[in-house]
Each structure stands twice: as C-alpha cells, then as structure tokens.
C-alpha cells in the first residue's frame, strides 16, 4: 500500500461510524484498519466508539410482550386462517 493510498486522520474520522457498522467496501475497511493500526489518537477514538456501540447494543433491553396482546394477535391470525379456508 503506497502513501498515496493511505487515509489521513480526517478521512478515517469521516468513515468511523461506517467502519464500526461494517458498512464500507472491503477496500475502504482495509484502509481504515491500516490507519488505525498506526495512529494512536484515531485508534483511541475508534476503541471508545466501538465500546459505546457494544454497551448500547447490550443494554438496550428487550421489551416484555403482554400475554393479552399475544392472545389478541393469535385471534387475528386464527380468524384470518378461517377466512382463507
């Protein structure tokens, strides 16, 4: 990889969220990773944002489904099933 191909801190900064979300092309992912491997400041920012993402995903809770709602939806599905027969 030549110096011309390498990303600057600014270019990595603009792609940080997409990199975290794996929404870049394989070539862009490689360029960001190559920069993070050699730039302490960008690596620190990336590690922080990756940790925020992990924590959010693990702590945003599943919401309990009321049994009464399960029953109501089951009735809708059963009624639709009868209608289609």
């Amino acid at each position: 990889m030549s110096a011309v191909d390498r990303y600057t801190c600014e270019e990595v900064f603009r792609r940080l969220n997409d990199y975290l979300d794996r929404e870049l092309s394989a070539a862009e992912m490689a360029l960001v990773k190559e920069h993070l491997d050699t730039c302490g400041q960008c690596a620190s920012e990336h590690a922080f944002e990756a940790s925020v993402l992990r924590e959010l995903k693990s702590k945003l809770r599943r919401i309990d489904l009321p049994q009464s709602l399960i029953d109501k939806v089951a009735a809708i599905l059963a009624e639709a099933g009868r209608t289609n027969h």
Binding site: D21, E55, L56, L65, P66, A80
Partner: protein
Amino acid sequence: MLVNSRTEDAAPAPHTLDDLLRPLLGRAYGLALRLLRDRADAEDLLQEAALAACRGFGTFRAGTNFKAWFFRILTNCYYDRHRRQRHEGPPVEFDETPELYLYSQMAELGLHQGVADPAQALLDRLDSAQIEAALQGLPREYRMVSTLYFIEDFPYEEIAGILGIPLGTVRSRLHRGRKILQKLLWRVAVERGLVPDRAKEPA
C-alpha cells in the same frame, strides 16, 4: 391455516404466517412501543400490522427476510396513522452536537486517564432503563433508525427497505442519532452525579 408455499415432496416444511410471526411479536412490539411511547397505542399498532400481514401474506416471498417484511408493514401502518407528523426535525438544541461527544466530554474532564475502557466505565454505571430513556429522547426519525440498528441489528440497506427511504438517509439519520444519543447519555450521567456538571463550574 395460512400457507405461504407448498410443494409436493418438498423437504422443508412450508411456513405459515403464524409460524413466522409469533417469534417476532416481542421485537415488533418493542419497535411499536419505541415509536409511539404508549403501550395501548403500540398494542393497537401491532394488531393492525398483524391484520395487514394476514391480508398481504400472499406477497411475501418464501426465503426472503420475513422480519424485514413484517417490520415494513408495521412502519407503514404507523406512517398511515401519523402521516402528518412524518417530517419531525431534531430540536434546535441538538443542531450543533459535535462528533465524538462522549469521548470529548470525558477527555476534557480527564476521565480517560488510567482507565482501560472509559466508555464502558461510564456506561456500566447506567442501567438499561436509563439508556432506554435516552433512546426514547431521540426525535422520532432518529429513534426509528436507531431502534432498527441498535436493537434489531438490521444492516443499513434493510433499514432503508423497511422505512422506504434512501440508503444515504439511513446513514445520515443514524449518524446524527448517535451524536444526539451520546449527548442524552451524557446528560443522564450528569444528572445522576456520575460525572461533574461543568455548567455549574465557575468560569
């Protein structure tokens, strides 16, 4: 019983709508509740979406992503009810939220020093309800995209399909939503006394 596909001697059993929908109900209710922030309204929306799914099940193609298909129906039902509110912009107070908000706030207070994972150190001290409340504080368009991404793990492209918006709009809303969410989380941390309130410090 509703059957999506049936072939003679086919190895995989055909899936009924009931088979496909039941395991998703909790997640669909979570999305409805996060959109509407009201349990009764969320229950109504989910039932309406279930009914719409019954009517439209013939359009579902076996082998494609049923969850994305049903979530699209649910968000369409939501938009049909709340069409007038479709374009809710972010409150002015969030207009200038900088990038890396939590990182910058903690760095300015020296909270990165001597901690291996400063983000975890901060967020570990917030419980799920407080993080959920921060998500609930997002403007609706950002809340929808953030819920589909953070909680339901949909990739950007599928979120675009579910919400019927361009991929670039998903990217920008999620990007902005993250910044606002970080600001809201910082607010919670300040209110709980987990970090100093810099607004109260003498100039």
